[in-house]
């Protein structure tokens, strides 16, 4: 029992984190049909910007409410800044290119963003532990869990809700869905796809950065830590269905829980099993478990 609770909690925390990160990726793919490797760059930049802000706030003993403000602000700034530059000046010129070329371009951008970090923030690891320390631990199922990590689940639920509300209840969300469904038809209906793409890419970037910014207080933020995140969120997105929001949710739950179980029972399989699931899903249901519907084209 104790074991089950712990595995569930571990899995849930990890899943929440994965969900926030991969949501941005799946939205970008859904709307723009771009597999954005540079998403890892957003993640890392979000983490770094949040870290230096939190460390500054913490060292000067500011109100702890400001930590969370700094986290969200960092995510917004990173998403806006890099999202705008990358979409406007690089990706926009490539939409007619081969899809593989675009992936590769984002791969190059990922490398550039990674090295920029070294030059802007230096090589020393940052440890913005203040928020996590402040909230401390709570005993659940016989062992302590970090409260801050548990709030990740709350954040994931909020993000999921906002996303659902936006897509289903707002006009802009409906526009977005029509673009996801069929780009050409949307254009002919008078939707400004260029603008939709820009905004989508920025929001996707913000979500990636938010993942990094929110996880930062629990880790040692150091150069190169984003490289595993990229492929892990790829796995989540593929399992759930590329471009599907509920898919990202299910995908991250599956990966999070399976990984937690593996770490407890068979640590050697921890990495293997995630990608094995990804491969199996692709083999059985290539579109992913929750693939968005495809328009019938003749």
């Amino acid at each position: 029992m104790q074991f089950l609770i712990t595995v569930l909690l571990d899995g849930l925390i990890y899943a929440s984190y994965l969900f926030i990160v991969s949501l941005g990726l799946t939205i970008t793919f859904g709307v723009m049909k771009i597999l954005n490797v540079a998403h890892g760059g957003f993640f890392a930049w979000g983490a770094y910007l949040a870290s230096i802000s939190i460390i500054y706030l913490g060292d000067n003993e500011y109100n702890s409410f400001l930590y969370y403000f700094a986290i969200f602000l960092s995510a917004i700034i990173v998403g806006l800044f890099f999202g705008y530059i990358i979409e406007r000046f690089i990706l926009r010129k490539m939409y007619n290119e081969d899809i593989h070329l675009i992936v590769l371009a984002t791969f190059g951008l990922f490398w550039i963003l990674e090295d920029l970090i070294l030059h802007v923030f230096g090589v020393d690891p940052l440890m913005p532990y203040y928020p996590a320390m402040e909230l401390g631990g709570i005993e659940l199922g016989g062992i302590f869990q970090g409260v801050y990590s548990l709030t990740l689940a709350g954040l994931a639920i909020i993000v999921a809700f906002i996303c659902w509300y936006f897509l289903k209840k707002t006009k802009y969300g409906k526009v977005l869905q029509s673009v996801i469904f069929d780009r050409e038809v949307s254009v002919s209906m008078g939707i400004n796809v260029t603008k939709v793409y820009l905004i989508t890419f920025i929001i996707g970037g913000m979500l990636g950065a938010l993942g990094g910014a929110y996880i930062a207080p629990t880790i040692s933020v150091s150069p190169g830590f984003a490289i595993d995140v990229v492929v892990m969120s790829f796995a989540v997105v593929v399992i759930g269905g590329m471009g599907s929001v509920p898919g990202a949710l299910i995908g991250s739950l599956i990966v999070g829980l399976v990984r937690a179980f593996a770490v407890h029972q068979a640590p050697i399989l921890e990495l293997f099993i995630i990608y094995a699931i990804m491969a199996i899903v692709l083999i059985i249901k290539p579109e992913g478990l929750f693939a968005p519907p495809k328009p019938r084209k003749i």
Binding site: L35, V37, I90, K93, M94, E97, D98, I99, H100, L101, V103, L104, A105, F107, G108, L109, F110, W111, I112, E114, D115, L116, L118, H119, V123, I227, V230, V231, F234, A235, V238, M242, P267, I268, L269, E270, L271, F272, I273, I274, Y275, A276, M278, A279, L282, I283, P286
Partner: protein, 318 residues
């Protein structure tokens, strides 16, 4: 995009090119440069494999699977069977990768576009997950590869270089013959219109499967040669997704214009990396990333298109 690739002379020029590279590398150039040539020729094989796949518009984001599998096959053969003979090494590497490609090909041949890319990625990461965590497979340390021998004698760096040149020439001849065969022509037709090819009475899946196995063999051979040339294998520099990305990168950088392009591109890549690393150890990734973007934007045909552009006698009609 593929103009000129099937010309009769290509293969003679190719053999001449490899001869010159090997002779330069062993007699004229300093050793570090010859190392770069050696790595470039080896990696070029994997890029050639990717290029052959690309001719059907299939891009694998997980080709490091075969590259790494070939390299680890060499490592395992040394650890458990004591194999250091260079002929056996390359045969083992190619056979292992080819067999794996044959098995996975049954699944992958049904996939196209991004799904093909992602499933390849998934398979390569499965192998990575195993290698990185299993102690008996060397975990993240990988394994050392002892210097190669030939018929019981130590081969030496030069000997290995000649051998790599030999393998590359054989592969060039083979790839050339394959691309000129009806099977090879067929795959370009698949890229244009799959259904039409089926109506002509050919099995598209079978043609793709054969192509996939050939591509896997080339990548496996590249991994085997690279392992022998470097003297070390490890999952992070042989199997990780970013290695696959690098291979795709070199393919684009080289251009798809000629079967020689992969080797020119791969050698060029080794040099950028060496220099970037030496002069800007904290910005080498940025330099490689920047080169990648620059090529995509300003040289869409890859380096090979440069060679075509400077030819004053022959203007290719578009």
């Amino acid at each position: 995009m593929f103009k000129g690739i099937l010309k009769e002379q290509t293969i003679q020029v190719g053999i001449g090119f490899v001869f010159i590279v090997v002779l330069l590398g062993t007699f004229i150039l300093p050793e570090w440069m010859s190392n770069n040539f050696m790595y470039g020729l080896s990696r070029g094989l994997a890029v050639l494999g990717l290029m052959i796949l690309w001719r059907t518009n299939l891009v694998s984001f997980g080709h490091a699977l075969y590259y790494g599998f070939g390299a680890y096959a060499v490592a395992m053969a040394q650890k458990y069977l004591g194999v250091t003979d260079v002929f056996l090494r390359i045969i083992i590497a190619i056979a292992a990768a080819g067999l794996l490609g044959f098995v996975l090909g049954f699944i992958l041949r049904r996939y196209r576009e991004i799904f093909f890319a992602m499933l390849s990625l998934a398979f390569s990461m499965v192998l990575y997950g195993l290698l990185a965590k299993a102690e008996f497979l060397g975990s993240t340390d990988g394994m050392s590869i002892s210097p190669s021998t030939m018929f019981g004698f130590e081969l030496g760096r030069f000997g290995l270089f000649y051998f790599i040149g030999f393998v590359v020439i054989l592969s060039l001849i083979f790839a050339h013959a394959y691309l000129r065969s009806s099977l090879g022509h067929l795959t370009t037709a698949i890229m244009d219109n799959e259904i039409r090819v089926e109506y002509l009475g050919y099995s598209v899946e079978k043609a793709i499967h054969i192509k996939y196995v050939i591509s896997a063999c080339l990548a496996g051979g590249a991994g085997g040669l690279m392992a022998a040339a470097l003297g070390q294998v490890d999952p992070d520099s042989m199997v990780l997704w970013s290695v696959s990305g690098e291979l795709v990168f070199v393919t684009i950088m080289a251009g798809l214009g000629n079967i020689l392009a992969p080797f020119v591109g791969a050698i060029f890549f080794e040099f950028i990396r060496t220099y970037a690393y030496e002069f800007a150890p904290q910005a080498w990734q940025m330099i490689i990333g920047g080169t990648l973007l620059a090529i995509i934007f300003f040289l869409p045909g890859g380096l090979w298109s440069l060679f075509q552009k400077i030819n004053p006698f022959k203007k290719e009609k578009k």
